[in-house]
Symmetry: D2
Subunit: 345 residues, 4 copies
């Protein structure tokens, strides 16, 4: 017995990756998908890689009310746009996994200042569960609305959670330096992501602050039981997929490396998508591309504790994580449709 | 009931891709794998992406005689080295899929002149079936020894087979211009494939002739029932995976494009991994990466008939094709473990 | 005593490269430059690499009439737009080098059908000199209007000129297969040239014909003294700069390789930017990046004569060639400001 | 009147870049160059881009004693090997610019522990001047032996020098996160820098410490007049050239951004290769490729002061800086042969 799903905004990169995962998932039937730009076209005309896999026609989102009720809707719409449709879907009784930042931050005024948008559905924030299974698995199971985490946030939270949960990280000491592939910037053409501009280059952005910073701080603070501020700078590097995040922090007391390894391994004992590397080894983006793994290597350098985290920004950083959330919400094995290694080389 | 397989030379790129495919294949158990360079190491230490998937230890090939008899051995050894072990395996009753060029060419003296190697097992050439399922499916089913085709050859043969089979291509008119990703050159470090040398460059090689030329000519000539000579130049471009081949030829008579499309579609009617694009559309490497598809677009320009072919050199061009051959040999569904779209973006 | 130059459309890629070359050229003073998109901004705000080199403000082209008369104007405007301004400049007595295709093709109706544009200044076609110095150096010297050649055309013409000029190439036999970096597609954002779309891919375009085909045929036919038709397919590969063109042709008589080498070396004896490689060696894009060189390697494969040509599409394929033309027009040494090796690695 | 120079180890990447710069430098004549791997070959056979520019034959370094005395020798030999030849050259009265780390660190025992090598020429450490012109210009002028700085070190020191010199940076707070192109790893083939391994990936290395850390700390401590410890992690990203370094630190007192900008601009007032970006702008690698510029952007994020630094690892990070040092040592204008913008796009 398959569940029926719909997808809002299916023709961007998170949509493409979600479609790839869902066409191979044994428990899912895709009922409909929307696209403003490509409405009327078959999805296999938009994405040639889907020829022979899926021939659904893209529907304009203005026709949302006419579409069949489904068990679950994935919203791949951008921040600000997503919340309006999420509200409609919830009201008509459908469960939703929202890829945007609209329901990730509990504090609506923080959302408004970081996103520079008005939040019109504050009441629904209470419903929303932050969709990081390793932290909120049980709440996700019953959630009506899952706010799928940001790609950077997933690296920062998972890279520090075991230590932060023990209250071991000094507030104000955390530096999160992320290097991201360019698919993270979406599929809409821009000068910044034009091939010859970004190729053979690397750049920092969001130096004064990036909108995933508040969700990182929210989740780490909740784990710590006290305020955790982070300094976070994302960078673009010329790869299509993947994030490498290096986290620097200072600990309240200097634990043995052995003990930290044990702490990490125990913390993630039930989490099959988290791989803690052996001492002296650190993950590269190449180890996790196109997979749902989040690989972590840890070490000291002088007084700084270092955590190196790699994942695929469209995999564990977005669509893979959404499928993992779906699996939890609908009682599939948590790794259904996700249990394959990264693509190499 | 799973079949047991062994892999010779598992730590190169074709080995890595084969392992990725086999760990997700429901009908296969990997019994052993060999590596000279990494013997004694666990395969997940060699390839971090396989952590949690496969922990077999690499065995040195000198211990081949001590390894369990299996149903099928994949030899990913290089040309010249492979034949010696293939002979041993066949003699002990195992079936073999050989990735090297050692048994692709029926004419041993042609082999010797193109590969500049002595062929010591000419008798076994009669046993060998050229492992292109779209052409030799029935012979593959019963084969003891499958000679897995070259990556370039697969593009050239599949791109022209429907026309050549009808005797429609003028001999001497065929030009095959291939652009290949660098994984095609293997995993052994060399100045030529050093990152900063090949990045941001493109180069022709084998301008006077490449060792896959004779197998292209052999297969096309067999299909035509008469000699078909081709001019073939491979080029390297700075991508990890994928081949784009543009084939130029002159036809004996100018057929309508409509008729040619019908010819191609009918020829590949039972071949689920061949996708003929609609008129005016042509495949890009991005449509087939990490998949087993071979995508083809066709068109005229002036008097030249053009065929544009894309595949993944390690997928349909090597390990994917080998798994397809295995599926045929052991009565699995032909697309078992291979039925997923290309990785995008 | 410096000449004064102006630039129309200075903020695209050909403009950027032209500015780089001109700020280091001892004989040139840049008087003004236009940009619609960035008018009012300083050029060093548009291109950070020019900080400390050039601070001119971009002017909107609607103010062209108010700008100072200069000795030479480079028009980097797109096809169709360029001709209108070129006409105005010529009428006010300024000499022009036009990067667009508007004045490259003598036959206005051929232009109109290939470019799908109306040609409104047919009278000026007589004035225009095709700006390939190795072929038209003397005419360029006195030209009022130089039509700067297309990047692909430069490779195709220079790769075959010595043989074609001797009437040695069989008509109908020529296949030109070009692989180009993505800066050739310009600086305007598009889905096609969005980083994650074109990265790790390769694709053919213009399979039915590309607008540089008629200028290749015009120039080769003029050299041959008879019609030379070519089949030409350009491809995009994921590099920022550079073109590699492989040319296949059949000769009227099979000359010795030695003789062909001598023919090529003599033909280009006075041309310091053409480098004929020794037998068995072929140019890679990496050898010519950011330079004004056009490197050529030649060989037979079977009955096909092969010419492999590499240049930088923005160098000898556009802005470098334009500076070379300027040097000729104003009696500077032909290699002034251009005499440096390609950038490696 | 030209100076005569020799180059040890001319066929690696720093050698290639040095040759490119020197063949265009009006005050230099290259007398000889050595290469073990390519001895006997003409340099233009090793580096095709140098055809028509330089035809010198590579000499084996064992013949060093037979080579002409020159005004200056650049040693591009690796750490450990370089010191032996530097000693010989100094003894025969030649001035030397050494690219290796052998003479960068005053404290020989620190050198020995970081490089895991015996230092046999401790007496010469007193002669050596750390070749960062912005810090040691006057000492460089008269130096017999210039220790050319490491590429990472150049970013870290220049990015913090103005603040550190004022004693404003809290010790223990400095985090240096560098992202480097792969040419920094040299030209010798290795699995790590094999194209398909490093392409589409990113990785940290030297997580426990990298051998450029002690020179960063030495120079910053000297500027501060007290100990400055840094935590430094280099990362590889798939570009050929360039480094982007993001530096995080905490200040003793929170200065106004305005004041910090003024501090930086004044500190580098005479330094034409340092470009301080306007507030809100940060350098990308693309702005400095193939140039001698070091571009810096500065900002606060919360309590952390951020400095983003970009340079070309073979330009200002190695060979460009060496030419700048040579210019100072021999009274050429400091920017002779170096005054051109970065290569874009």
């Amino acid at each position: 017995m398959k569940i029926k799903v719909g997808i809002l905004g299916a023709t961007g990169y998170t949509g493409a990756e979600l479609l790839r995962l869902l066409v191979s998932h044994p428990g899912v039937e895709i009922s409909w998908l929307t696209s403003e730009k490509f409405s009327g076209k078959k999805i296999s005309e938009v994405f040639s890689q889907l020829i022979n896999f899926l021939d659904l026609q893209c529907v304009n989102i203005v026709k949302l009310a006419t579409l069949d009720k489904v068990d679950l809707v994935f919203s791949c719409l951008p921040h600000g746009a997503s919340m309006h449709f999420v509200e409609k879907l919830l009201k008509s009784g459908m469960r939703v996994i929202d890829f945007s930042g609209d329901f990730r931050i509990n504090d609506a005024s923080a959302y408004e200042s970081w996103y520079n948008l008005k939040h019109r559905y504050r009441d629904f924030l209470k419903l929303a569960v932050y969709g990081l299974p390793e932290i909120h698995r049980e709440k996700i199971r019953l959630a009506k609305l899952v706010a799928n985490p940001g790609c950077y946030s997933t690296t920062a939270i998972l890279g520090l959670a075991p230590l932060v949960s023990e209250g071991l990280v000094k507030d104000g000491s955390v530096v999160v330096d992320s290097k991201s592939g360019l698919s993270g910037g979406g599929r809409a053409p821009s000068l910044e992501h034009h091939f010859s501009e970004s190729n053979e280059s690397a750049a920092a952005y969001g130096v004064t602050g990036h909108n995933q910073k508040p969700e990182i701080e929210q989740e780490l603070s909740n784990l710590a039981g006290s305020t955790v501020d982070v300094t976070f700078i994302p960078h673009t590097i010329p790869i299509s997929r993947g994030i490498l995040t290096t986290i620097y922090s200072t600990l309240e007391e200097r634990l043995d490396t052995e003990d930290i390894f044990q702490l990490y391994r125990e913390y993630y004992l039930r989490d099959s998508f988290i791989r803690i590397y052996d001492k002296g080894k650190f993950p590269a983006v190449k180890n996790v591309r196109f997979s749902n793994f989040c690989d972590i290597g840890i070490e000291y350098q002088g007084e700084h504790f270092i955590s190196v985290v790699a994942l695929d920004n469209l995999g564990k950083g977005a669509s893979g994580q959404a499928v993992q959330n779906m699996n939890i919400m609908f009682d599939f094995p948590e790794d259904e449709g996700l249990k394959y290694p990264g693509m190499y080389p």
